[in-house]
């Protein structure tokens, strides 16, 4: 279970402190699939970074299974069971897909073991396992490898920052299946930042963030119809920027 208590995050801008996240509190229950959505620039990605420890809140507390992790760095949070998939995956010269999956898994798993994670994200494993995670891979391929590293970790909480960005339509159904399988098998909490209606549709809970604040939070059946019925929903749900 992840809990945010009165979390705020400010950045300096033109000599002033600009508040990106404004006194946010919410709970992500154990084993639930939660989707965070809302207009662009509302603070969703910042929130994901605060949870992973990439950014530190200006004030407030973050608790994982009741323990205060606010002061812990990225490594410590990862070791306590938080995974984070980047919106724009990082490239590495010389580091292969197999290396990255082994690092994610934290052990020297077999090639066939590593291939399974790639197959789960719809990549033909033998074509990719020894490739370098560099600019020779397309955005969509990198994105799927990024998701595979999170699958390999199999932690209690997995945070995905817009996993659908950069993935073609053809792969999208496969991606939804990946998340459904994760939900079934990992028995952890999944937190996805997304604009896609089809991802919102498989959520247990939806949390809407607008202008740094939680504007609604509840079960999907309650929140989604409201989103789809509102004029802003068009922008939210079809991913239009």
């Amino acid at each position: 279970m992840l809990e945010l208590k009165n979390v705020s995050f400010e950045v300096p801008e033109e000599g002033m402190e600009k508040e990106i996240i404004k006194n946010i509190s919410f709970v992500i229950p154990e084993g639930k699939f939660t989707v965070i959505t809302g207009p662009n620039g509302g603070g969703k990605s910042t929130l994901a970074k605060l949870i992973a420890g990439i950014q530190k809140p200006t004030s407030g507390q973050i608790l994982l299974n009741g323990q205060d992790i606010t002061g812990l760095d990225i490594t410590e949070r990862a070791r306590r069971g938080i995974s984070y998939a980047f919106q724009q995956p990082v490239r590495f010269k010389g580091v292969t897909v197999l290396d990255l999956i082994r690092l994610a898994k934290g052990e020297n798993i077999s090639i066939s073991g590593a291939c399974e994670y790639l197959s789960q994200v719809g990549l033909c494993a033998k074509d990719y396992i020894s490739r370098e995670v560099n600019a020779s891979l397309s955005g969509g391929e990198l994105k799927r490898i990024e998701i595979a590293t999170v699958l390999a970790r199999g932690t209690k909480l997995s945070v995905f920052d817009e996993p659908e960005a950069g993935i073609d339509l053809w792969s999208f159904q496969n991606l939804i299946q990946v998340f459904e399988n994760m939900h079934r098998e990992v028995h952890g909490s999944i937190l996805i930042i997304s604009h896609q209606e089809r991802i919102l549709n498989i959520a247990d809970e939806i949390l809407v963030i607008t202008d740094g604040e939680v504007t609604s939070h509840g079960p999907k059946d309650e929140i989604l119809p409201k989103l789809l019925g509102s004029s802003s929903a068009v922008n939210i749900c079809d991913g239009r920027k």
Partner: protein, 305 residues
């Protein structure tokens, strides 16, 4: 051979025992083990220190190991090795030099390797340099490589210096005939106060000849690196040189690529990039549970792999 010499041999040539095929093992200035085969003959030079390696035309899938180890502090040597590789050969040559210095005097190995590669021959050359020992004396290596590539031949050269060499000036010169191809991959890491200079001079003389010179380097601490790569396109040819370096701590790196086309059909490209490890790379590996230092090591190891 003592344990230090065995360790050096393992580092520079991956050798745990006497290798198969032809070999010459040079220890503290002396040839201590040698084997010629039916197709590969190794003979000592008479006027200077060094050996001639003569590989008969048509020799396929054979290898030559010629490692050098220096474990005596203060030892300095100049070695001339010439490789005569016949037409249509397909061979692997594993060289390498390891210096262990526990004394206060400099130990130094200067080697001149000359390759005469016959028509349509394929040579794979692997050279590793390594230094160890806690002495204040330097571990110095200055390898010179000269390569003449015959028509349609291919030379793949892998040059690695990862640890412990205090000072190195490496020069590689090559001239290529029609249809010849040269691929050089250099990997270099310097640390402490080390200095390393690498200079390539490649002449693409023959029609449809090509060269690809790739250097990946990491400079740590207060070490200094200079990479110079000169490619001259003298015919219809293609050449590419690339230097990609990671700079860390208070190190200093210069990359100086130079390409000259002396023929309108010469297609030449140079690329050079120096930068520190991208912060987001470290963050990504930290989100997988690695510490910042572990992440840095993984990134450097991958880069130099």
């Amino acid at each position: 051979m003592d344990t230090i010499q065995k360790m050096l041999l393992e580092q520079v040539a991956d050798l745990h025992a006497i290798p198969e095929g032809a070999y010459n093992i040079r220890t503290n200035g002396e040839s201590t083990a040698r084997n010629s085969t039916e197709h590969i003959e190794i003979v000592s030079k008479s006027e200077v220190s060094g050996i001639d390696i003569k590989i008969k035309p048509g020799t396929k899938n054979e290898s030559v190991h010629i490692p050098v180890v220096l474990s005596q502090s203060g030892m300095e040597e100049m070695v001339y090795n010439d490789f005569y590789i016949g037409d249509d050969c397909d061979v692997t040559i594993i060289a390498g030099c390891g210096i262990h210095n526990e004394g206060d005097s400099d130990s130094r190995h200067d080697g001149i390797h000359r390759f005469f590669i016959g028509r349509n021959a394929h040579v794979k050359y692997i050279e590793k340099h390594y230094g160890s020992g806690d002495g204040r004396g330097g571990r110095i290596m200055n390898p010179q490589t000269e390569v003449e590539l015959g028509e349609g031949s291919l030379a793949e050269m892998e040059m690695v210096q990862i640890k412990g060499v205090d000072s190195t000036v490496r020069t590689t010169k090559a001239s290529l005939s029609e249809g010849a191809k040269l691929v050089v991959t250099e990997r270099l890491m310097t640390h402490g106060e080390q200095k390393a200079e690498s200079q390539f001079d490649v002449n693409l003389d023959g029609e449809d000849s090509s060269a690809n010179i790739i250097s990946r380097a990491v400079a740590r601490d207060r070490s200094v690196q200079i990479f110079k790569s000169v490619i001259n396109g003298n015919a219809k040819c293609s050449g590419h040189t690339e230097c990609d370096a990671i700079i860390m701590d208070n190190a200093n790196i210069s990359a100086i690529p130079e390409i000259t086309a002396n023929n309108p059909d010469a297609a030449l490209i140079h690329e050079a990039a120096i930068g520190k490890i991208a912060g987001e790379q470290i963050i990504k590996l930290m989100t997988l549970g690695l510490t910042e230092k572990e992440a840095e090591e993984e990134i450097v190891n991958g880069f130099l792999k």
